[in-house]
Amino acid sequence: MSSVTFREIEGRSPRYWFLLGLIALFAALGLGAAYYMEHYGHIVTGMNNSVVWGMPHVFAVFLIVAASGALNVASIGSVFGKLMYKPLARLSGLLAIALLAGGLTVLMLDLGRPDRLIVAMTYYNFKSVFAWNVFLYTGFFGIVAVYLWSMMEHRMNGYSKAAGMAAFIWRLILTTGTGSIFGFLVARDAYNSALLAPMFIILSFAYGLAVYLLVMIAAYTWSGRPLGDAVLQRLGRLLGVFVAAALYFVFVFHLTNLYFTKQHAVEKFILLDGGVYTALFWIGQIVIGGIVPMLILFNPKLRAARGLLVAACLAIVFGGLAQMYVTIIGGQAFPLDIFPGWQTRSTFFDGVVHQYTPSLPEIMLGVGGVAIALVIVTFGIKVLRFLPESLADSEVDPHAKA
């Protein structure tokens, strides 16, 4: 497979404009929700002094983790030299940028003082993961842009391996930072663990590849371009491995917590009697997000059915959002243990499970972030040459090793 032809999608049909318009509408609604939240204050959301991070953060962290993982496909081509993945690399880069942009937009618009973004970019406390993230995230945009350029500009092709390696290392640091946002919090029983950083890296592999597959299948099916089974089967099998690895990390995390008596209370909360959090953990994260996709992806016959492959990817995305909800919100709902050995009660909701109900503005903002990411991808593949003309089996070289 010496030359792959990349071409913009035509993007002139009424269906295309309708799709773009629909996604843009959700993006606009998200921006409107952000304005509403900023104008009236967070009192109009479901967040409160006990659960300070809510639905916007569930979506934002998911998008950021998926962004890092979406770049994986390109890395497998450039860094690990698997030739079959090389045509897939450009879309991978675009998707990574788009998902990160969507996630960051949600995060920045949810700030109590979003007008102070300049302050966030000029005052730094470098002991804070958030301060590092300002550089890690903006650097990610730059590095992936350079990486894309090295792939799309013929004269720069020689540099694409180095750029790919740089992007790969950068995103490992970035995702370590994302996991450490929670891992560094010594105060909360549901977090304070070094395992969260590598767990987030593995989660990023799973979420990112699931989103990549969904976008790729949609783009090829709706633009009428051929998409062969060889690519899908390879990626589908890989996705199954990633989901299994993610489940392993979750298993080890909870197993270790169950070994420590002092962690029993929070584990009982998440695994047994946390109500919505327990349901989302077992049914959302483990069954729908883990077991069902693995059953499909590890069975060649089931994996070959495109509908089931899409269903598996959607299930992983849903499971990912459930996992974010349980981690971020469940971790806050469980009360702080300020007086170990004592039951506590106060007017500031000490000692009780904290209430949180997602509100419409928060959900709209989160969905708006997804929409912004999709607008970037949908428009990007129309104006620049991200998509190979054909990914039919005859075009794709099954001999993978470089």
């Binding site: 204050g41 002094n49 700030l111 406390n125 010594v186 105060a187 300020i338 500031f348």
Partner: protein, 256 residues
Amino acid sequence: MSQPDQQSPSSQSVDNHRRQFIGTSAALAALSVTPGVMVYGLAHSKPDDQPVTNKVRWGLLIDNTKCADGCTDCVTACFTANGIQLPSVPPKETDPQWIRKVELKDMRTGRTQSLPVMCQHCEEPPCVDVCPTGASFKRADGIVLVDKHICIGCRYCVMACPYKARSFIHEALTDQKPDVPRGKGTVESCTLCVQRVDRDEQPACVEACSQAGHKAIIFGDLNDVNSEIAKRVAGRVTMQLRADLALNPGVRYEGF
């Protein structure tokens, strides 16, 4: 103020003298307490144009044996002095609260007690570590504050605090106290009444508890070996909340 006992008419002149004496003393006491002058050991007051230094470390000592169950004078005083709206009844989870009375019940014996809990003004505050802009900071004299000018309202410090000390302001505020600026979209917590401490007064909760006669909270300079708080911390068994986290809070509890 306490009243003298009734006297027989034959000692009227002595009565008048006593009454005058007691009245004047009471007036003087009232005068001295009303503006909140520090009674306990106090570091030398700092000139206005000089920065605070780490020679002083402000702290609180809460004596559980003197803290009365059901009394919330410290809480009310804090709200009043800092211009915070009193929490709704029943309280909403969005209501800010800088100090609260926590009712404790021993899980094994059923014994109950109550304690005030506020920002512990740690020496190694996790809230300061995680703030991306440095808005959450520790002043040289140990008071942990939020610089609301650079707070972007990300609430990471609220996630990081082990004592649930921080509140986020969820709606626009009006009628703030000129001494205590607070606004929508920023995070706040107990300031150890920094505006009063800088004027050589005591925090409002300390003063209210003293006025109520309990004297369960004392305030002072932990670095000054002659201050009452330093003597008591050195001489008696006092504990810090979540001491296992090694944050070395400036707030200590005894009689727990």
